[in-house]
């Protein structure tokens, strides 16, 4: 009865070999999530660069072999030392400054690091993989009776299990480990008892990154050494971490291996589901046990942990009029396709601004709404022959529906957990887009007809199309402004400012957050489906997590929680991508640098920063919390 999805239960060697592949993947999940867990436990930092550091480990092994003739075995020791050592520089110069800020800032900072590292390696090596030879002593395979076990894979299994257990032992049973556990529990007190916690944190970061680099060396002979290898694995690892329970050492190890195995099993039974199964497992576990399998339940939600923006609702009428005039005459001075693209992304940015800037919800997989809607709108218009207005409506409805689904799972967690959950769910959608029959795989849905709007407006005329897109943008923007100034918008801002207080005043805060996801989903859907009409295509880039990063950058750059800022941000990023195209992957590096600069220097974004200077100027004599903390942090550092 399952013929239609081609389910088959394999037996014997085929099953074992899939399970083996699963276990090998699981070994890498375990090593990486272990490093993430250690770093998060003590530093409170979600190290987004973890996947990139794993990739650097693999490249480092490759480079040692190619440039210095240093082989696999010495690399196993050298690479973690080199990459871990480099990470000390990163910790001292950058990450250290986020310790006293909200966790979300360290997530954004390390996301910037990821962009920089990946950009540099892509620039240097392209996206193709470099082969790395297996050590000669481990070639060949051993007959286990029921299957042939390739020796190298056997080694990886044994080695990773050993490393995990040694790490666990070091944390649970040694003096240094007990200092780490104590500092994880209460860093301030541990330091007051004489433990040099700043150095401990530095070493912990280096240790966690060293584990990632070690995993990279071990992965090099199995997978291709490519700049993309980190990005592919890190989101799966985030899902593993959410399942296991953040900060639980044993939880990371067990769930890493277990999920690898489940993935392998799924591949044997129903291959298309194998890349989804971990995310499905994550969603189910979040519904049943929000703290994760090994995590301690958090009890009462504390005040919501978010990046703080301005939550401004004022619009300067003169500025708006001038901008509107500019928008009307712009196609005569600029390339209209660029303008239309920017307008679509401006809608997307407004949507993200709504969830983060006004709702305080760090939706790190926001592109699910944008890209998911784009696919549905494209399919509706191309295959079902929907006219553009209905295509857009279908896109908006899709965005809202995704808002219900993703939102209702995500709001079970808060702050950075919410970020990881949304990211994982978005990645699930990405895999659906890669594999589903109607999405066109790598090609996407191409040559979607623009058609006639309302049956009489021909969208194939470029100038007409521009004004239609502008009108759609204005409708979406007006809706955004109405939402943030409505009674609901006021309540939402209050919840963002102080959730515990809002609860005590009688607000069912989860309902507000869910509505926020739905509205933002619809708004992103409007942008995504309009983009389909402009370009006639919905493709994997629309649902790729890099796009989620881009929209975050647009909003942060323009000014989180400001009405107009994200629109500027969208134009700036799209302009940068259009005009710097020739520089290839350096764009990623520049974006990464912008992320880091925003986190460390301009936490209010550019527009927000102007507001802050103007509005808070008179309070200069008073307290300036973030600056004060940084200054103190710096002076404390000087003592070390």
């Amino acid at each position: 009865m399952f013929e239609w999805i081609d389910v088959s239960i394999p037996t014997g060697a085929a099953l074992y070999s899939q399970l083996l592949i699963g276990l090998i993947n699981g070994a890498f999940y375990a090593l990486l999530s272990l490093g993430l867990a250690i770093i998060f436990g003590l530093l409170g930092v979600i190290n987004f660069a973890h996947g990139a550091q794993y990739m650097v480990g693999a490249f480092c092994a490759w480079a040692l072999l190619h440039y210095a003739g240093i082989g696999y075995w010495p690399a196993l020791l050298l690479v973690p030392l080199i990459v871990g050592g480099l990470s000390i520089i990163i910790e001292r110069t950058l990450i250290r400054h986020t310790y006293k800020l909200d966790h979300a800032y360290s997530l954004l900072l390390t996301f910037g690091l990821l962009l920089i590292i990946e950009g540099v390696f892509r620039q240097a090596f392209g996206t193709f993989g470099q082969p790395y030879a297996m050590p000669s002593s481990l070639t060949g395979a051993t007959n286990m009776g029921f299957m042939y076990l390739p020796n190298y894979r056997g080694w990886v299994l044994v080695a990773s299990l050993t490393i995990c257990l040694v790490t666990w032992y070091a944390i649970e049973r040694t003096q240094l480990g007990s200092q780490m556990r104590a500092a994880t529990e209460n860093a301030k007190l541990t330091q007051a008892l004489g433990v040099n916690v700043p150095v401990l944190m530095m070493l912990t970061y280096a240790g966690g990154v060293g584990l990632a680099a070690l995993a990279g060396v071990m992965a090099a002979p199995i997978y291709q050494v490519s700049p993309m290898m980190g990005a592919e694995i890190i989101i799966v690892v985030f899902a593993v971490v959410v399942i296991g329970g953040m900060g639980s050492i044993m939880g990371s190890i067990v769930s890493g291996f277990a999920l690898g195995l489940i993935e392998g099993l799924t591949k044997a039974i129903y291959p298309p589901a194998s890349s989804l199964i971990i995310f499905v497992a994550m969603a189910i576990i979040l519904l049943i046990r929000p703290a994760g399998l090994f995590g301690r339940s958090q009890g009462v939600p504390a005040a919501v942990s978010v990046v703080r923006g301005g939550a401004d609702t004022s619009i300067n009428p003169w500025l708006s009029t001038a901008l509107l005039f500019l928008a009307i005459v712009a196609p005569f001075f600029f390339y209209p396709v660029f303008l239309m693209k920017a307008l679509c992304f401006a809608l997307f940015a407004c949507s993200f601004n709504l969830v983060l800037g006004y709702g305080g919800l760090l939706s790190f997989g926001h592109t699910a709404f944008f890209g998911g809607s784009a696919y549905v709108a494209a399919h509706a218009m191309k295959v079902w022959g929907f006219p553009p207005e209905l295509g857009i409506l279908a896109g908006v409805a899709t965005g809202a529906t995704l808002g219900v689904i993703i939102g209702s799972i995500a709001i079970r967690r808060q702050g950075i957990y919410l970020a990881m959950v949304t990211m994982a769910l978005a990645q699930m959608l990405y895999f659906v887009a890669v594999q589903a029959p109607f999405t066109g795989g790598e090609d996407g849905i191409q040559s979607v007809p623009r058609g006639m709007l309302f049956g009489f407006i021909d969208l194939n005329d470029r100038l007409t199309l521009y004004y239609v897109v502008l009108a759609i943008f204005l409708i979406g923007f007006a809706a955004f402004v109405r939402i943030i100034t409505s009674p609901y918008g006021h309540a939402l801002k209050a919840i963002r400012e102080n959730e515990a207080r809002a609860v005590s005043l009688g607000f069912r805060t989860n309902s507000f957050k869910l509505i926020c996801f739905v509205l933002a989903g619809a708004l992103a859907g409007l942008g995504g489906s309009t983009k389909v009409i402009v370009f006639g295509i919905a493709s994997l880039t629309d649902v790729h997590f890099a796009m989620s990063g881009e929209v975050i950058l647009m909003v942060l750059l323009g000014g989180l929680g400001t009405v107009l800022g994200p629109i500027f941000g969208a134009f700036a990023i799209i302009a940068m991508e259009s005009y710097l195209q020739a520089y290839g992957a350096w764009i990623k590096v520049i974006q990464g640098v912008i992320f880091i600069v925003i986190v460390l220097v301009f936490r209010q974004g550019i527009v927000g920063e102007f507001d802050r200077i103007a509005g808070w100027g008179r309070r200069l004599m008073g307290r300036s919390p973030s600056k004060g903390v940084q200054a103190r942090d710096a002076s404390a550092g000087a003592h070390n």
Partner: protein
């Protein structure tokens, strides 16, 4: 029967691991009174307060508010039936204006808060009530400044204004005087007395001069248990209360 108790607890107990923070507490708060809970550090005042405000569930025991068993109710629902708390650290919405802070509280009672399609102007009908509340706590002059810019004592006043906006029948105040200067203490005490005119107030407070000045009845906690109950005159003269406060154990 003869007493009209707005809040009663029966055998309320909370343990954390092996540590019993609140043990078998029977509390009776009479309607229309100012009732204070006092006790030395570590007596379980904050834990008791958190149980009453539904911050966490009790290990055992019952809480009855206005004739309804609220032991299993959610905090936001409790707020809607008239039991509203304040916080020790001034719980305000820092970047909303003072006016918006109070207005949001008024909004909390209505389901209109979900109306994302409506103009914010519909909230203006609440402004008259907002102005009244601001006048009560003497914040009229600050209405349009962001709440974060208020001086510390004024923040406390703002928090109280948002709390009474819900028209609670029972107001729970968590150390309302913590961190305040002498002038602010006098002002907030005056305000509490004024609010008590038409509602019941239960407060946890360790400033004893405030407690003696304001409260009708006092419950003294020590090591998680009720040590004494009565008027200030009564409890303050009890030897066991004296001992709990200044100690009485003789070392070798």
């Amino acid at each position: 029967m003869s007493e009209d108790n707005i809040l009663t607890t029966e055998g309320l107990t909370k343990s954390f691991g092996g540590f019993v923070a609140v043990r078998n507490v029977d509390l009776r708060v009479r309607r229309g009174t100012i009732h204070a809970v006092i006790g030395p550090n570590g007596a379980g005042k904050t834990s008791l307060f958190n149980l009453l405000t539904k911050t966490y569930p009790p290990t055992s025991g019952r809480i009855v508010f206005d004739g309804r068993d609220i032991t299993a109710m959610k905090p936001y629902d409790v707020a809607r039936i008239g039991l509203v708390r304040s916080f020790q650290i001034s719980a305000i919405f820092p970047r909303l204006t003072v006016r918006e802070n109070v207005r949001v509280a008024l909004q909390g009672k209505t389901d209109e808060s979900y109306a994302f399609w409506r103009s914010g102007k519909t909230l203006r009908r609440l402004d008259a009530r907002v102005d009244e509340l601001l006048a009560v706590v003497d914040l009229t002059g600050f209405a349009d400044s962001p709440a974060v810019q208020l001086p510390y004592g004024r923040k406390r006043a703002l928090e109280i204004a948002t709390t009474i906006a819900l028209e609670p029948t029972l107001l729970l105040l968590d150390e309302p005087m913590a961190g305040l200067s002498r002038q602010d203490i006098a002002r907030i005490a005056q305000l509490i007395r004024q609010l008590a005119a038409d509602r019941t107030i239960l407060m946890v407070e360790h400033n004893l001069s405030v407690v003696s000045d304001l409260s009708d009845r006092i419950t003294v906690l020590s090591r998680g248990e009720v040590l004494a109950e009565g008027t200030y005159q009564e409890v303050s003269t009890m030897p066991r209360v004296q001992e709990a406060y200044i100690g009485g154990v003789h070392a070798a």
